[in-house]
């Protein structure tokens, strides 16, 4: 019976291609992770399971400082971007359309539309000028650059959450003697919190992953984990890079899983 059932949505070959696509997506990643656990020094020959390269990477001062720097930049940039994005989302949603609204949208989404390499050289030029004027060489440039391109990623989930929010809840709060500030503090903000957290997590992941802009903006000795890895790839690659990648990959997967759980809850 089952074989003769008419299945209009089934197109021959599609399922096979899809399966191949999933294998092709994950096989390289699994290979990369597997080699991270390789005991030998070569990345070509499998010499038994070992955590050797993880401990080697962990002992490497350059990796340590790059990791720390990546986390500091990602946390700072995510904090700045999420704050700015939350305010912007509150400003641009749930009010009558106004002149200039499109301008704000275009501005906020601009980092999504410009090729990274273009922004990277633009910031190289600008920050180069500022560096020579002020003499300041710190992490501020990277944090500012990262905050800028993280804003649209933080903005989207927050805005979505705001638009899905029942306006009558805030009306109800006002009816129950809450001042505008109390309404924001006790109703809007708690209801918005999952969206803000989701936005912050996306911003964090995006900042953590950035290569191109960081590569152009960083001053000497300001390698982040990705730029450190990019530098390593120019030389003979050891499984140390696999180990670092695996660590970064694990962190991303954890954050994304949390993000999905957070955003799914609202339905």
């Amino acid at each position: 019976m089952a074989e003769t059932r008419f299945q209009p949505a089934r197109i021959p070959g599609f399922a096979a291609i899809a399966m191949l696509a999933f294998v092709a997506l994950y096989l390289p990643i699994f290979t990369l992770v597997a080699y991270a656990f390789n005991g030998g020094t070569s990345i070509a020959v499998w010499e038994g399971l070992s955590l050797h390269w993880f401990s080697k990477a962990w002992a490497n001062e350059a990796v340590k400082s790059a990791t720390l720097r990546s986390l500091v930049i990602a946390a700072s940039a995510a904090a700045v971007a999420t704050t700015a994005a939350t305010l912007a989302a509150l400003g641009t949603t749930r009010r009558a359309g106004f002149k200039g609204q499109t301008f704000i949208y275009v501005m906020i989404n601009q980092p999504l539309m410009v090729p990274e390499i273009v922004t990277a050289v633009a910031l190289l030029i600008l920050f180069g000028m500022v560096k020579s004027w002020t003499g300041y060489q710190g992490l501020g440039y990277l944090i500012l650059a990262h905050a800028a391109f993280c804003i649209p990623f933080a903005y989207l989930p927050i805005r979505a959450r705001l638009e899905g929010m029942d306006l009558s809840l805030e009306t109800a709060a006002a009816d129950l003697y809450a001042s505008p500030w109390q309404t924001f503090r006790h109703v809007t903000l708690p209801l918005l919190a999952p969206g803000i957290l989701a936005g912050a997590m996306l911003a964090f992941v995006i900042s953590l992953d950035d290569v191109v802009i960081t590569e152009f903006v960083k001053s000497g000795g300001q390698d982040t984990l990705p730029t450190y890895m990019l530098g390593q790839m120019r030389r003979a690659i050891t499984p140390e890079v696999n180990a670092i990648s695996t660590g970064l990959l694990g962190l991303t997967v954890i954050l994304l899983t949390a993000f999905f759980l957070l955003t799914r809850k609202r339905n």
Binding site: I29, Q101, P111, I117
Partner: protein, 303 residues
């Protein structure tokens, strides 16, 4: 309208700008503003040790396609530059085509799963989507490099006597870009197919269409906005790709992104790099505008 209501409206607009201001300032300083500086730099003269001399020149712009003969100062089409442009466009178009060929069946497969399983398959696509581009490029490198998984397996099986050299070729860059940008094609296609009313298929078959005709005359026209969106989302970053060609293409198989970097490094021709950047930005913007127009025309589903 009473004056009070007008006041309330004006206050609302003021609040909107005040709340958006921090984000706008950050973006103006670190994203939009610098682009104007790039435009200015593209009209200056290169400095001897990098950077620029503040002297007006159109050489940066001419350099996009031409080169000045060292001896008689005449302009000639620069073969090397043309090769890089052509490689960028060709590889980006091929990447778009390949991701579509693989991505459409994949998106269709996901969208026709039962609702519970759908979330799982979609999650499998989203994980690579959010995973570090560099790591994914490195991962594909693990498969295709000379001592990588592919060659090792082939030699072990005795199919190859020596490794097939894929790395540092255009093919490697193409494979890499198809791999890293596949999720960008699948996600919008999925969104479009997910909205597609499957009863239309029954209607199509009922009206004597065969599978191919249903695909050609019913499915593809209706999910076209998703196809356009996916194609733009793949084409635009492919054209500006920097990491993938650098890691997989070696030094020689440059794309426009690497060519731009070269001008700010060893090339020491910042105006040319700036002009190339502006050109890339213009092409990208044109593609996005085309997308916006196509989406507004065809896709009433998801304005």
């Amino acid at each position: 309208m009473s004056a009070l209501e007008d006041q309330a409206r004006a206050r609302s607009v003021r609040n909107a700008w005040a709340l958006s201001a921090p984000a706008l300032v950050i973006l103006a300083v670190a994203a939009v503003g610098p682009l104007l500086i790039v435009l200015v730099y593209s009209f200056l003269t290169p400095g001897k040790y990098g950077n620029v001399e503040w002297q007006f020149s159109t050489d940066g712009w001419l350099g996009i396609l031409f080169t000045r003969d060292i001896f008689d100062e005449t302009l000639k089409l620069a073969d090397a530059h043309l090769t890089i442009w052509w490689r960028s466009v060709r590889l980006s178009l091929l990447t778009t085509l390949f991701t579509f060929a693989v991505g459409f069946p994949t998106a269709w497969f996901i969208a026709t799963r039962p609702p519970r399983a759908r979330g799982f398959w979609l999650f499998l696509i989203t994980i690579p989507f959010w995973t570090n581009l560099l790591i994914r490029t490195f991962a594909i490198n693990e498969v295709i490099r000379n001592e990588g998984l592919f060659n090792t397996v082939m030699i072990r099986l005795g199919l190859f006597s020596e490794p097939l050299r894929i790395i540092n070729t255009d093919a490697a860059v193409l494979m890499g870009m198809t791999y890293v940008y596949l999720p960008l094609m699948v996600l919008p296609l999925f969104a479009a197919i997910d909205r597609f009313d499957m009863r239309l298929l029954e209607a199509g078959y009922d009206l004597y269409a065969n599978r191919w005709q249903v695909l050609r005359h019913v499915i593809l026209p209706i999910v076209k906005p998703g196809i356009v969106a996916g194609s733009i989302l793949v084409f635009v970053p492919s054209l500006g790709a920097y990491v993938t060609p650098r890691v997989l293409g070696g030094g020689k198989n440059m794309m426009i992104g690497n060519f731009i970097e070269l001008q700010f490094g060893q090339g020491r021709n910042w105006p040319l790099g700036a002009a190339l950047s502006v050109t890339l930005l213009l092409i990208t913007t044109a593609a996005l505008l085309f997308y916006v127009r196509a989406a507004n025309k065809g896709g009433n589903g998801h304005g």
